[in-house]
């Protein structure tokens, strides 16, 4: 690959991948809001 093409591809793809991963991990690890929230899957935790 040409240097220009490779640079453009790597810079773009690495940036997009890191931003996507950052936001998705934030979704996974952000503390849940107090019940009742919007997600029925969290309801059991309150019962416990």
């Amino acid at each position: 690959m040409s240097t220009d093409g490779l640079t453009m591809m790597l810079v773009t793809e690495i940036t997009v991948t890191l931003i996507t991963a950052y936001f998705f991990f934030k979704i996974l690890f952000t503390k849940k809001h107090e019940e009742p929230d919007s997600y029925s899957g969290n309801d059991d935790e309150i019962v416990q």
Binding site: G5, T20, D37
Partner: protein, 591 residues
């Protein structure tokens, strides 16, 4: 007021995956790479990302906020979501677009989705094994010409599957489908991208390394960066890829409570779509096509049938070059990936329609899902039966293109200027798990509406041209112009004479019949398609009866397109009438 409070999301990850699945569609793999190639290669990514930041993300914030706001007032479809933001009757009817677009797009999109399902089946059954490039391309032509009942059967299966999933509700159906579909889509995409990038020249019949295609796609041509056409293409791609201006994002977000985050959810789903499009979408069809056909061959194929033609007419043959077993696996992965991309989007089109029926007419989940399935069947029939008469494209243009821009433009004006930007900004930040930079407040208020207005104004000549059937009229004019046809023929013959797999005898149907031509294993697909085009042109030029029949076909296409426009208009008016009845009903209930 809502009667459907029992619906809701099971988990936050499920909501984000469903929302990302709504955005990720066939366009991520078939449209984006083609747009990049046609608009400056790697340099296209600059206007693309700028439009994402100035138009995509702001509209995601706006649609998520509007949806959650309306949902908390008990509404899950845009007519009454918009009504909850401003009580003037106009907004209810503007909101009709949020149901109309979903129904009309689902009508043709489910048919497209059914092709992918059928091709998964044919990949498993090894239908494409041992076939020539011409035969594989011909298979697609026969398929959409309804030469057997198979397309109808797969379409019906697809509609039933969508209806069944929708009837199981958000957490039990849509969310589960997203949780299965999205990881599989990523897995299939990663496998195909790896195979595409590691294609080696000389191995399995490849002419070039897969990286040659990547290089072609990513090498920036900065001279295009100031071309307004390129910016328009980037803005258009952002629109299609994020599913904004449809009404489905608002519906999904309407099931989020007011104290729960939408800002982080919107960013996560939006960037996930960007990841699939930029990282995976750029690494599959172009590297494979360039690896086996060269850059010129790939460009000729794109000019013939775009990404859709490349994905359905050519890739099944190219996968076969990887060996029988791997060919089957690659076929299942490619069409499976497209199927998951499609189904997670079509499910999102069903929910606003169901939300409307449940909220405003008290329908049960199952009945609403079946009503959606039935409506899509009726509306989709013309796109299936008259595909070759341009009905499919007509639906795509008016419902899947123009309506999106119109609705998004009006919606952001409502949010920023009528509902009020201060109130709107508060809505975006309510319960937010991230700090949204204040600059977005000003982008939403000034930059995004201006950008949208610019996109719309620039689209006007194209809208007028489409309304006047300029494409069909130009074809008829061409068929009646002997000189123009002769020039075109000269041009095509010159192109053919430069090809190694071309023999002048291929142009004489009396010497090489259609059957012999398609069965010739030595002819590559770009040459085959060009020969077919030249043979067709020669026939139009020399056979008056055939020429007249081609002109009649174009006239018929214009007629069918006009009828489908009336059909779409009737659909819009029908939904508007239902909105009128529902609002009258709710007035009676409240008094």
């Amino acid at each position: 007021m809502s009667k459907s409070e029992t619906s809701g999301w099971g988990s936050r990850v499920g909501l984000v995956l469903a929302m990302a699945g709504n955005a990720v569609g066939l366009g991520n793999f078939l449209r984006f790479p083609v747009q990049a190639i046609e608009n400056g290669g790697g340099a296209f990514i600059i206007p693309y990302l700028v439009c994402f930041l100035l138009m995509g993300i702001p509209l995601l914030f706006v649609e998520w906020s509007i949806g959650r706001f309306g949902g908390n007032k008990g509404h899950h479809s845009t007519p009454f979501i918009l009504d909850s933001m401003d009580k003037r009757a106009l907004w209810k009817y503007i909101g009709v677009f949020g149901i109309f677009t979903n129904l009309a797009v689902a009508a043709y999109y489910c048919y497209l989705e059914s092709w992918t399902l059928s091709y998964v089946w044919h990949s498993i059954a090894d239908t494409f094994g041992g076939k020539t490039q011409g035969e594989v391309a011909g298979f697609f032509g026969n398929y959409v010409s309804l030469s057997s009942a198979e397309p109808i059967i797969f379409w019906a299966i697809c509609l039933l599957l969508n209806t069944w999933i929708l009837s199981r509700g958000l957490s039990g159906g849509v969310e589960k489908a997203a949780k299965i579909g999205m990881p599989l889509l990523l897995l299939f995409g990663a496998f195909l991208a790896y195979k595409a990038i590691t294609i080696h020249a000389g191995a399995d019949g490849a002419l070039f390394d897969g990286t040659v295609g990547l290089d072609y796609l990513w090498t920036p041509d900065y001279s295009t960066i100031w071309d307004s056409k390129v910016w328009l293409a980037a803005a258009g791609q952002i629109f299609f890829t994020l599913s904004i201006g449809m009404g489905s994002i608002q519906c999904y977000a309407s099931y989020v409570k007011s104290k729960d985050d939408i800002a982080l959810n919107a960013m996560s789903a939006g960037w996930m779509n960007g990841f699939v499009e930029i990282v995976l979408g750029s690494a599959i069809i172009i590297p494979i096509a360039v690896g086996y056909l060269g850059i010129d061959g790939m460009k000729e194929l794109l000019s013939e049938g775009g990404g859709l033609g490349l994905g359905f007419k050519t890739l099944p043959y190219l996968f076969e070059q990887w060996g029988s077993m791997l060919g089957v696996i690659a076929g299942v992965a490619w069409f499976g990936l497209l199927f998951f991309a499609g189904v997670t989007s079509s499910l999102a089109m069903g929910t606003p329609v169901m939300g409307f029926l449940k909220d405003e007419f008290g329908w049960k989940e199952k009945n609403a899902a079946w009503a959606f399935g039935f409506a899509v069947f009726i509306l989709g029939l013309p796109t299936v039966l008259f595909f070759n008469n341009g009905v499919f494209d007509e639906y795509d243009y008016w419902a899947g293109t123009v309506s999106l821009v119109v609705f998004a433009f009006v919606e952001i004006i409502l949010f920023a200027w009528i509902f009020g930007m201060d109130k709107g900004w508060k809505e975006i930040n309510l319960g937010a798990d991230i700090k949204v930079p204040i600059v977005f407040k000003y982008i939403i208020q000034y930059v995004t509406p201006l950008l949208l207005g610019w996109v719309f104004i620039n689209s006007i000549p194209d809208i007028v041209g489409t309304l006047n059937h300029e494409g069909s009229k130009a074809k008829i004019e061409f068929y009646q112009n002997e000189e123009a046809m002769r020039e075109k023929s000269k041009e095509q013959k010159k192109l053919l004479s430069g090809k190694k797999d071309y023999d002048p005898s291929f142009l004489s149907p009396n010497v090489v019949t259609d059957e012999q031509l398609v069965a010739n294993k030595n002819i590559t697909i770009p040459t085959y398609l060009l020969i077919k085009k030249e043979r067709e042109l020669e026939k139009i030029r020399t056979d008056v009866a055939y020429r007249n029949s081609k002109i009649e076909d174009e006239e018929k296409t214009m007629l069918y397109k006009n009828i489908s426009r009336l059909f779409l208009l009737a659909l819009w008016l029908g939904i508007a009438y239902l909105v009128y009845i529902a609002s009258k009903k709710s007035k009676i209930t409240t008094t």
